[in-house]
């Protein structure tokens, strides 16, 4: 009898023990156990910044993140080739591509309730299928020493770059580069045209006598460093890098007609229609928009956060404060290209015929 009681007590204790272990295990189970989220984004340091911050958090929830590295253009080509069957769940999209994504119905609606950090964004940066993730401030970056040496006033408009003293000392983005479309749109506006009338922009570019058309922002840093160029049309992040590399440069947000100062290019995130990991993708977006990540990512990648809290922190850094516009008023003054009015194929064709000869 004694043994029987002991056996029952032991069995109950073991059952409770196993039960508690299972219960503990269940409570430790992450939200995304066994989920592999595939993210289409740029490689190199861009990806590493995400790897260092967001990936450990996702792994703590039991999931893993894989990266399909490539430019948004290359990833869009993969999507088109796969007729919407994406090799990734979520991808970085440029503002010039959003129309293509929507017309091809490549995106699925976001679960905005699962993205509380959207509250820190401007209203126009949040839509049903895409959400703003970063932006660049496209500026004129110039060498202060060289301008003083040549007796040239700091530029205020793109037209100021047509100064004969700058002939062969100017670098502007090729239309195929990351900032090419945004800046060309800005040239068109500055010249008196718009997205549908680009001829004034072409005339403005031709009047500038540029040394070369850069295709990667890193080229501009090298050109400033070697003294090949005295001014460049480039986003502020590259100017910051040129300054950190030892060039005495600063930025100007050029006046573009009477309404705008500077132009920006926007990055967006969207979840692919073919994705079966929508919950994890929405979680990823929310983490991407977190103020802490946005600040760290922006300062390391040279872009501007969309999270207003993170933007406010940029002014803590004297170099960023000098190079970027950080107040809501200033940012709202920057030109946003309306790509729904633009025929990008025609832009590229006209550019190749008129400028890139």
């Amino acid at each position: 009898m004694k043994y029987r009681k002991s056996f029952i007590a032991t069995s109950v204790a073991m059952a409770l023990g196993v039960g508690s272990v299972l219960a503990t295990g269940a409570s430790l189970a992450g939200e995304f156990d066994g989920v592999t989220l595939k993210v289409g984004t740029w490689g190199g340091s861009w990806k590493e910044n995400i790897v260092n911050v967001i990936v450990p958090k996702f792994e703590a929830e039991g999931g893993t993140i894989e990266f399909v590295t490539g430019s948004p253009q290359a990833n869009l080509a993969k999507l088109i080739a796969g007729r919407g069957k994406a090799p990734f769940d979520i991808m970085e999209i440029l503002d010039a591509q959003i129309q293509d994504f929507r017309s091809a119905e490549f995106l699925q609606p976001l679960s905005l309730d699962a993205i509380p950090n959207k509250a820190h964004l401007e209203d126009w940066q949040v839509s049903d299928d895409t959400i703003g993730s970063w932006f660049t401030q496209e500026t004129i970056c110039y060498n202060k020493d060289k301008f003083a040496e040549l007796g040239i006033e700091p530029p205020k408009t793109y037209s100021d770059l047509a100064n004969p003293k700058l002939e062969g000392r100017l670098s502007i983005p090729d239309i195929t580069s990351g900032g090419g479309l945004a800046n060309f749109g800005a040239f068109a506006h500055a010249g008196g045209g718009d997205e549908a009338n680009i001829q004034p922009g072409l005339d403005l570019v031709k009047s500038m006598n540029a040394l070369k058309f850069w295709s990667r922002g890193g080229e501009v840093v090298t050109q400033f460093q070697s003294g090949d160029v005295y001014a460049a049309v480039v986003h502020a992040g590259w100017c910051v890098r040129a300054k950190n590399a030892g060039s005495n440069v600063t930025t100007v947000h050029p006046y573009i007609n009477d309404q705008h100062t500077g132009v920006h290019k926007h990055g967006w995130l969207g979840i692919m229609k073919s994705s079966e990991n929508a919950a994890a993708a929405n979680w990823f977006i929310n983490e991407y928009l977190d103020a802490g990540f946005q600040f760290e990512f922006a300062t390391k990648s040279g872009v501007v956060p969309v999270n207003k809290e993170a933007i406010g922190r940029l002014s803590e850094d004297p170099v960023l404060d000098e190079m970027l516009q950080t107040s809501s008023e200033e940012i709202s003054q920057q030109l946003r290209i309306d790509y729904s009015k633009a025929d990008i194929a025609d832009w590229t064709d006209q550019w190749n015929r008129s400028v890139a000869q």
């Binding site: 595939k38 740029w42 490689g43 190199g44 340091s45 861009w46 990806k47 894989e66 990266f67 399909v68 590295t69 490539g70 430019s71 290359a74 080509a77 993969k78 080739a81 796969g82 007729r83 069957k85 090799p87 990667r216 922002g217 890193g218 840093v221 090298t222 460093q225 890098r241 950190n244 590399a245 990648s301």
Partner: protein, 296 residues
């Protein structure tokens, strides 16, 4: 008789007096030396810049820093593991594509040169077509093909080693066909006829007579195939996937935002590796002999 005399007069060597005339212009030797030196500098300077910049000892830098400041090997210790993984994949892929190209290219070349097929010219052109198609188009075409096949069969090859391999095999094969065809067109068929008449089987004749003669073409084609596969970006860019990224694509994406010095360090290691392999081959067998005779 008169004509004969005049011919004899023509063929008689002229009497030579004094020292032999100098060949070429007096500054020709120096010009030759300068021209060769500049050519070598031009060809080697990119490698020198890459290796030199990889020794940059300062902080992370967004552009190539050459000559390096405060030289150190610090970036060699910061090469991401993903690059080594990608490098391994590229070697494996290049080797497999080369092997496949040889296995298909040699019989194809034999068929093109020796058969009497009615559409031989067309077949020959088809085998060489991959060289005429822009590589980026090839990449997109393969990706679309994989989706089409996948939709029909449920077997999707995109993002797999097989998918990558087929793309590389496609572009690598014409190089072997081209080089082997060139040698076969100058091949003396009497060598094979002699072997056959002495009782050798067709296979033995191929193995002991034909293959050794065409080996220089096989080696050259294999070398080109490997180089094309190893350095390919436009095709791989569409066919890679997480875990299956080739070395050039990994570097390409790594350089999109910054000049990460660890990429330069990694590239320098590959340069040194290739140099060691080439020097080793030169020392052991002799590259010229290998390509010329093909019999070692």
């Amino acid at each position: 008789m008169m004509e004969m005399r005049s011919e004899m007069a023509v063929i008689q060597p002229r009497a030579r007096s004094g020292p032999l005339p100098k060949r070429g212009l007096p500054w020709g030797r120096w010009f030759h030396w300068l021209y060769c030196s500049l050519s070598y500098i031009f060809l080697l300077s990119p490698m020198i810049v890459v290796i030199g910049a990889s020794l940059h000892g300062g902080e992370y830098y967004t552009a190539i820093k050459f000559p390096p400041e405060d030289p150190s090997f610090q970036w060699y210790f910061k090469i991401p593991a993903a690059q080594f993984h990608a490098l391994g994949l590229s070697f494996l892929l290049g080797g497999a594509a080369t092997l496949g190209a040889c296995l298909v290219g040699i019989p194809a070349a034999l068929g093109i040169v020796r058969s009497n097929l009615p559409l031989k010219t067309l077949i020959s052109a088809l085998f060489r077509a991959p060289l005429q198609i822009p590589a980026i188009v090839t990449g997109i075409a393969f990706l679309q093909l994989y989706f089409l096949v996948g939709d029909a069969t449920g077997l999707y090859a995109q993002g797999t080693f097989l998918g990558l391999y087929l793309g590389h095999f496609f572009v690598a094969t014409p190089y072997v066909i081209g080089t082997v065809t060139a040698i076969l067109q100058r091949f003396d068929n009497r060598l094979e006829e002699a072997a056959l008449s002495l009782g050798a089987s067709r296979w033995r004749t191929f193995r002991r007579v034909t293959l050794p003669v065409i080996m220089p073409g096989v080696y050259a084609g294999a070398l080109y195939s490997f180089m094309v596969s190893f350095g390919d970006v436009p095709i791989s860019i569409f066919l890679t996937a997480p875990g299956f990224t080739t070395y050039p694509v990994e570097l390409f994406y790594g350089l999109e935002n910054d000049f990460d010095p660890s990429i330069l360090a990694s590239a320098s290691l590959v340069i040194f590796f290739c140099l060691i392999v080439l020097l080793g081959m030169q020392k052991l067998v002799g590259l010229e002999a290998l390509l010329r005779s093909g019999s070692r």
